[in-house]
Assembly symmetry: D3
Homo-oligomer: 243 residues x 6
């Protein structure tokens, strides 16, 4: 079968992934993640406050915010602040990022503080939300290392690695890591968040315009697992390179 992808990749191949730590200087964790032409700045900020439902529990919290620069996309988007509200899409994505990262955090060890993961897309070419999770995890790890090194907490309160990838069904073919062009033609669009040992954290599969077979779901899950294993390997390599 001939190659169906715009950039010559195999159907089960990730785009080039680059994770740059210490991208900006103030945040406790600061990462630039580049997956193909998708570029997201992920910073992790430690805050001494916790949400009301955590107060007095001794347990911490992790939350996320997601936004796109106005011209991160082909046509310019209005800033949310000008609309006097956060867009439904951004809200949905930042809830997903927060939920995904929280699933591996030991909140007792973290103690009564919040780590805020800010994910700001500076260039979008598909898969920004999964890039934000994968990069946000590295920023979260760095913020935790900062807390350990500063003797604020005794050990890294993270139980497992977390990464995410998009997969989809395009032109009767399951594909890994869709760029924007592929994503816009996909009839099934799916985002998967997993741990390093193949455990699922979140699966979101959507039939764009039409329903789909469960068999497709299965094949897409296989592809996602392969991609996430590779992403976790990159996370581990990057995190080993310093500290």
């Amino acid at each position: 079968m001939e190659n169906v992808r715009c950039d010559g990749r195999r159907y089960d191949e990730l785009r080039k992934v680059t994770i740059t730590r210490d991208f900006t200087k103030y945040a406790e964790g600061s990462v630039l993640i580049e997956i193909g032409d998708t570029k997201v700045i992920c910073t992790a900020s430690v805050d001494d406050k916790v949400p009301p439902f955590r107060k007095g529990t001794g347990e911490g919290w992790v939350t996320a915010e997601y936004d796109m620069l106005p011209r991160s996309t082909a046509s310019r988007n209005t800033r949310d602040r000008n609309n006097l509200k956060i867009s439904g899409r951004s809200n949905e994505i930042q809830r997903l990022i927060g939920r995904s990262l929280r699933s591996v955090v030991d909140f007792k060890t973290l103690g009564e503080r919040t780590i805020i993961i800010d994910c700001d897309v500076i260039q979008a070419d598909g898969g920004t939300r999964t890039a934000a999770i994968t990069g946000g995890f590295v920023a979260l790890m760095d913020a935790c290392s900062y807390l350990v090194n500063a003797n604020i907490i005794p050990e890294i309160p993270i139980r497992d690695f977390v990464a995410a990838v998009s997969v989809g069904y395009v032109d009767d073919r399951e594909l890994l890591d869709l760029c924007y062009y592929e994503d816009s033609r996909a009839t099934v669009d799916m985002n998967v968040v997993m741990t390093s040992n193949g455990q699922l954290i979140e699966v979101q599969a959507t039939g764009e315009e039409s329903p789909f077979d469960r068999k497709v779901l299965e094949k897409l899950l296989d592809l996602a697992e392969k991609g996430i294993n590779e992403l976790v390997a990159i996370q581990k390599q990057v995190l080993l390179s310093k500290d």
Copy 2:
């Protein structure tokens, strides 16, 4: 194995489902759906306008809005209007409802008009979003019948039945159709939207607080398929009873 459910149901049993058509008098489609103690008013309103991206295409649109009455829950919620914004949760849910129903609509036959599905929860006991989809589908069908009977469109522009159900992993057991008490204890929470012939429209699975095995995902999908088949049977029976 002993029964684990609060209301004595089997693990693969739906709660009692009641769908009342013509619940209010003005809307083109108006349904009260009751699933156990969860009660949602779903109305379908025909609007002659379409969103900007549909103008001049000859194709229509279906969209949804979701809200909860302040005291539909155990403790009272502030109205969104008082916060000057729509809650993230409501936004996410109404996007899901709209996407799910759109996947079976033939927009050319519908013509350049919008059907708005309003889903207002008057009592919440788990599964409000899936009840909204299942009930909203019936309201949508009624609004389409109205358009056909009024000779505005030639035939019902719906390709298949759509229903939705929540499933979850609670106390090491896969359960169908979670009530609020079960949902709050679930370690995996999953919402599935399907057509009458077992095709998937949307799958959203979340590991609450911890990751989960892919095997659990498979068993939950089996349960969901069983439940959705039963829900579609009820939809068909209700829709046959008149018109």
Copy 3:
């Protein structure tokens, strides 16, 4: 004189009134009031907090919120939350409801807590604000009974019954309890709130498009008194049926 009303009622006759208590299961008071085709869900929620001006006074507060489901009316209304503000009409109505109910509450006996009356119109056919007051009063009574039964307060802190009705001048005739069709043709529109012994709580009379004689005001007040006496009788009967 021939009958002028759309539904064959006499000029001084109320529409059919049904008050259903315990309509939803969570609220301390929950009522569905139906007056003709007008249907309003009124819930009363007890909150331990009071507004700033009551703090430390030992006295409580009663407040109300009013809203309409988007398709409670012939043409669909946009939700307030989408306009990022509460509509002027809703605001005015909920201030009226709160003021009316507060006029018979003994706030010292209620103690430093707030009862919130949520009035959500699910079907509107004229007189929604007066139905909300009449039904809201029953929900308020039930919430007070709850507090007494739970030994939180020593006795029902309500000094008198409160009900409300709309009257109007239509086609040179004073009419009691206007339906929407009558209301839209009225040249004088008036809402009256009274106690069980004919004391006035609130009178709001408006000359729609043109001024009116004081004699009309007098006749409308007579009609309102008759209607409110009947409504209070229904409230009493409904409240006696349980507790």
Copy 4:
């Protein structure tokens, strides 16, 4: 009976009323009305646009906006714009002002244009809404004269004079034109809008904290009629003084 009023007035006496026309230079009508220490700037602005429901009807519209300067009162109020919404009280008042003035306007003669009455309170000592109506009417007249003088409309499209006054029941006595101190002690608070020949436009009576007798309503209406007759006389005198 001894005099009960703080400033020595008789119970049926208005405070000193001064109406200054052409108060500011840009508006088509601009009035400063002073009633005792209550001071309101009322301007009337002609706008070529009409609300959507008037478009193409050939008929015009009159609307009003009401606001208070932050330090028009004893303690400073936050500006509405800082709360990102208009206050419920201001909204209610400006709806009343618009409704009252519209009741005497011949919209066909006015033609398809809007006159906006801006009422800004610079000093508040009770009765600001009724002062706004009384002063706003003069500004409306001046804007209409401007339109006639500019040959835009053939004649003044106003059918009758409109004025308003507050009355109340204070210390077992009916009083005309309450100052703030009297208003704060009133058990019945009532605003009345009338035409020059004693026709009613709007009656809003509220039992503050407790219900009241219909006899009190009658006496208050008598007082209001006396006061409004005097206010209309002042309006006529002021409008005759120029043009």
Copy 5:
């Protein structure tokens, strides 16, 4: 050289300045400042609270709010509250007013309280922001006198007089105190805030549509200094007239 100004003034002449103290009765300082046809009400309100960054420091704060009545200008402006936000222009101006007045306040002597300067333009004919500063300073002085007279603070916590004026380059000529007509034709627009002894507090110079020479800046500063000296003389005279 012939006179270039619309009202016959010399190029270095201020318009007529009138400062009326005690303009309204509630505020601790209340001033109406009239500069030609520009009229601004400036009130100073004492508040016992301070912003978070001042809490516990023993030092006070001065802040300002600026707004225009809708018809203070030739064409009517929408109120900020209707746009659900404060306009960028008003925000910029009120930040300037606050900054300018703070520069001469001894916050230790003022003690932990805030003085809020409300500047509301009732008629605008150029130079409203500088009029607000000049008038706001007098209101601030009066509020400080109030605090001294009430034995709340030991002495006036103001180190120097502050006034402001606009200057501009119009038709190749530097002009002092621009009216709106001149301002709209200026190619350089500059606002200067100074103390009584010629010290600068704020300089804001803008080349409208085109850049300008530094020599022009120098001449405009000379003009501004002359005008501000005259304004301070008026402030001193007005403040001496009472207290």
Copy 6:
């Protein structure tokens, strides 16, 4: 005299300046400007629409938006969208950027279209607004080149180069190009925008906490002129390197 600057620079020395063109791939102009540790992404987007006041005039418009990533600063800032409004500071800055760039644009040649300059600070260490102007100018030039190369406009509609720099009075010394640490200690803070030939576009000088001598203003203007000459030289070099 010993060196007073934190990073060993001379008092009249700029920090290291790097301007990277084509920083992101979608915008018609995209620049990363780095001045010391201050980093701002400036994109220029061409929009076919113009503001209402330009419609039908044949002339274009240039506008700017300014924002900071939440963790571009030492402590995290809340996003404007969460406050449901744009911050006063951002608003003031983006108005300055737009005004500064517009002063050299030939709007007739640009034709009836808008160029939007988005300035997003990813790391802030003083001078972000002046960096945004200097970098935004390069992005604007690139967007104009795009329009010329696409034969949409005949020639670059820019009359002169524009750059900006901050200067200040710190510890009795005038300094060029303040970093955040210097800025926070400055008693005079001044931003200057100039063209390549020393013409002024905007001067904003503020005495922080205390007034200042006009001599200081003069020396700061000299310093700013020197810095801006160097910045324009860098702009020219960068723009020559391609196209």
